[in-house]
Symmetry: C2
Subunit: 237 residues, 2 copies
DNA sequence: TAAAAAAGAGAGAACGTTCTCTCTCATTTA
DNA sequence: TAAATGAGAGAGAACGTTCTCTCTTTTTTA
């Protein structure tokens, strides 16, 4: 099965050149620069679609060109290699995952905060409609990124970078919660964080929402597991 | 980095033709048949090594031939295509995972049985020395298989087959345990099985042993999570 | 049992295709 | 008009697979 061809289009032809393009600012923020960004995004979106459909190795540059409605000559003006596109997409995906943690509430119920972040993470992975592909596109890409990381050092480094950030962020929140008496003092925070992360990723990997388990059903599961990990001796508050 | 070349060898040259080759039994069980099996295994082992190193798409048939010390002409006598080798290896890997469940004890402590199976699963995935590759070779292959299953229908069917068997096996054990009063009556067994499976696979995905978390440290984690899932209201027995 | 025929197994060159990436030249934009 | 942009042919390597040929082993024939 081959990729759908798209009619080639010159993006600047989309006729909204209302903004004035004056002086040297044009160099950095003018139409040219904006167009370059738009083209890069177009390529990345097309590549993401192709990679989800066929994998990093399975999708060819021709596939990506067709999907983007662009010639190889044009595409290579924006990205120097397929590897560069892969790394860009991996970084983007891992960054988006990490950013979910930034929205974690610092309320005084650490268990509920963890549950909310877990659910949010699964929702983001399994019900992403921003691409026009399958709902679980992001989860598929996640598996692909992880597989790539086992043999591609650059991708492994990207994953490690963002995972380290997530780990730190969680450890900080947990340390505060522990001091506030919201987490059992016997809990080893590093292991707890690793366990919760493994759980979340396992649920993404098995793709619960796509298998008929609704997000709401996942909530008590997350709560039970978070409680088991953070309050093993079951003291309330 | 390219694959190591191996000196070609004619397996029949290994001069142990002590067994008499008489009558029609030779046809099915004779040297020829045994040799064919040995060659198939040689190819599968080589392919596994290459696939772990470079992925299903990243490893070429030439890589596999070099690793097996065999020419393409010889290899294609045993497997009709690369796809056939991939499917064979996927089936083998998933079958081995499923078989771990067959050794699950039917003792009267369901939690401990689950813990043991979980640990055994992680050990099998993360500390497999049967290949001479990395210790977590099996875990890497697992991720690759899962990634392939998202876009290869044949591989997806293989995964689904074995997963269904595992699910049934666990549901049966849990149903018995529930009737014996070892599992909280409010527990939905399907969701419990799915949750435990996700946890196990998440831990394999994150590769705890390779990251410095020893198997023994994993035991209380598994126990806490199994308890949370199977006895949410925390009645003892 | 000895010679002849058939089948099996493997090596390695070669096939057609597809891959990533480059080059040239035309067109658009500032 | 100079610089930026894009189309598309295509180079060169690598891909999965097949082909032909040789050598060995087994089976059949005399």
């Amino acid at each position: 099965m081959t990729d759908q061809a798209m009619p080639r289009q010159t993006p600047a032809a989309s006729s909204d050149d209302t903004e004035g393009s004056c002086c040297f600012v044009t160099k950095l923020f003018g139409k040219r620069a904006r167009n370059r960004e738009a083209q890069e995004e177009r390529i990345l979106a097309a590549a993401t679609t192709c990679f989800i459909r066929s994998g990093f190795r399975g999708a060819s540059m021709n596939d990506i060109c067709s999907e983007a409605g662009m010639s190889p000559g044009a595409l290579y003006r924006y990205f120097s290699s397929k590897e560069a596109i892969i790394e860009h997409i991996c970084a983007q995906h891992r960054r988006e995952s990490a950013e979910i943690l930034d929205r974690m509430s610092s309320s005084n119920d650490i268990i509920e905060a963890v549950v909310k972040v877990g659910i949010e993470h699964v929702r983001h992975m399994s019900m992403d409609m921003s691409n026009n592909g399958p709902a679980d596109a992001s989860a598929r890409l996640f598996i692909e990124v992880r597989a790539e990381a086992t043999r591609n050092d650059a991708v492994a480094a990207i994953c490690e970078l963002h995972e380290g950030m997530m780990r730190e962020r969680l450890i900080a929140a947990f340390t505060a919660a522990k001091e506030a008496g919201l987490i059992d003092p016997v809990v080893e925070l590093e292991l707890a964080v690793a366990t919760l992360a493994a759980m979340g990723e396992g649920i993404i990997l098995r793709n619960f929402p796509a298998q008929g388990v609704p997000l709401e059903a996942l909530e008590p599961v997350f709560r039970a597991l978070a409680t088991a990990v953070l309050r093993p001796t079951n003291k309330q508050l």
